[in-house]
Symmetry: C2
Subunit: 337 residues, 2 copies
């Protein structure tokens, strides 16, 4: 690998002069600079960021920790973050925790060894366990969509209460009065928030929530949302609801599926609203009415926040709003159209 010393030797100058010429220092004679630049190109010189980092005490590197990459939510979020990072000259170290506290801990430690300038931790469900690692962390840390509250760190989050409100208001507006909720116990905090939005909105409309409408299905594999939808549907039907608001699109799709198998027409006999607006939402039958989260924006805002912290600019916690996406899975209840 060619270094500035090699160039210096070829040019018959000191490596200092080369260093300066390469960064366009005006104190170097124009023709010297010219000659050095030429030489650098010819020799195929590529600056060594490692050496630069050691010297500058900065790596222009951000560590991102996500539970899993193969998750439609994480995916968009990553894309938003990567975009900002790349534009600002930062690289991302991507690691997965698989919701394993030990692994989470180890990854954060690795980030520290590698001297990342900042860290973004996504959807940590094991906040307590990795807290130790995080507290020792020197670099700025931004949390996304965390399951821990009252964090001492900046947080970017989605307004889940408001988003759920949007969905339920939509159903109310169509005339539904008996509206079910199917939740997911493996995302406790988010689940509580979406439930809260659901319950609040119903109460504000003067409707008392019947406990039988609210289902948090027990499933074998804690990630099997399709199954959650199936199980939840059974109980909702038993409770006689005319519409169901689901914790997320996967669950809603489970409901849709199960309805299809049972010969229940959606939205004619039962309305369903999901959450997330994953890709599949637009091409299931019927296309799913859902709440879209600004995921790319969540990622990009988180990245902008770390970068701001790195530059010692002040940042505030942030709460991003959601948007209702009306498709075809919700309609007025029977006899109300």
């Amino acid at each position: 690998m060619i270094t500035i010393k090699d160039i210096a030797r070829s040019a018959g100058v000191s490596h200092t002069t080369v260093s300066r010429a390469l960064r366009g220092d005006t104190r170097i004679a124009p023709d010297t600079t010219e000659r050095i630049l030429q030489l650098a190109g010819d020799l195929g010189y590529i600056p060594n960021s490692i050496a630069q980092s050691l010297n500058a005490q900065r790596t222009f590197t951000i560590g991102m920790l996500v539970p899993s990459i193969a998750d439609p939510v994480v995916m968009d979020l990553l894309e938003g973050a990567e975009d900002v990072a790349q534009n600002r000259g930062y690289c991302i170290f991507l690691s997965t925790s698989r919701n394993d506290p030990a692994r989470e801990f180890s990854v954060v430690h690795t980030f520290q060894r590698r001297r990342v300038d900042g860290v973004i931790v996504t959807a940590s469900r094991s906040g307590i366990n990795c807290r130790l690692a995080l507290e020792r962390l020197q670099a700025p840390l931004v949390l996304i969509d965390t399951e821990e509250m009252h964090e001492p760190h900046p947080v970017v989050d989605i307004d889940n209460v408001g988003g759920a409100g949007l969905a339920v208001a939509h159903l109310l507006h169509m005339g539904h009065r008996r509206i079910g909720y199917i939740g997911a116990t493996n995302r406790p905090l988010t689940n509580v928030r979406r439930y809260t939005g659901y319950a609040q909105t119903l109460e504000q409309a003067g409707i008392k929530v019947d406990p039988r409408w609210v289902i948090n299905p027990e499933v074998e594999k804690s990630e099997d949302d399709i199954e959650r939808g199936r199980v939840g549907l059974e109980q909702c039907l038993a409770a006689g609801v005319t519409a169901i608001f689901c914790f997320n699109d996967q669950i809603a799709i489970g409901v849709l599926n199960s309805c299809y198998c049972k010969g229940i027409a959606v939205p004619q006999q039962l309305s369903t609203v999901g959450y997330d607006d994953i890709r599949a939402a637009s091409y299931v039958n019927p296309p799913l009415t859902t709440v879209r989260q600004p995921l790319k924006r969540l990622g990009s805002r988180a990245m902008e926040m770390v970068l701001a912290l790195i530059d010692n600019k002040p940042v505030q916690n942030e709460m991003l709003g959601c948007e209702l996406v009306v498709r075809a899975s919700a309609a007025p209840p029977l006899g109300m159209s």
Copy 2:
């Protein structure tokens, strides 16, 4: 930040001794080692990989370049690669090219500056343009699913010809004789391969491919596969096929959707087979019969290959086979059951 020098000072030894004690050098007196380890823990010492890298001329870092993160195929692939990397103590620099040759070029350059130990480039459609950058690259390079042939670099690829054969053989086996193909022109090489598998298999069964069965739909947005499915379906129906093999699941889902809207029963009136086995394939209606690609394995094999190259072990190009996933979107044609 605590360095080995700080520890040395506290322990009253040289930084060399600390360095050795930390890495368990047996030449250091056990009690000295003990004392240093203790101290390192107390002071919260975290080794600086940057300094280590500068010295060792290795970064334990792999650069991964993908066209986009928000792609179900890329997602799984990344997960496979990350898993292997993490287990072997490597970190991944993740960057997106968005199919922009300029950006691809710049990312590869960044990887070089950062002295990654290896590079994985995925689905480069602009092979020619970034070739220059790649040739100068000192680090080992592995290509995944490239659209360029005869690369001078190791390649991991999926057996698209064989995979397509699986799908078509399945349809033939059920008794179909008029089988359509809907392709995607924005992935030219892969498209040709899947088409080849389709055509070969039909010919081997003694069936002459009617040109009207083969559709490569023109769509406005080059990424809109759902639309491809819609357009393709129209033409296939006009050509009187009883089954359709689609370039991928998204297209197949487009077909399914369009059938649903037109009141065509799948699989009773028309069979459809996709490719990829994306998540949605299992929960659309009817569940999609498709060809599963070993994507995680593709990612992990690619990573294993770069790591082997880094360790100067020999590697061979590799071709991974596919697997037919039988669900419910394909059945014997009318009057054949």
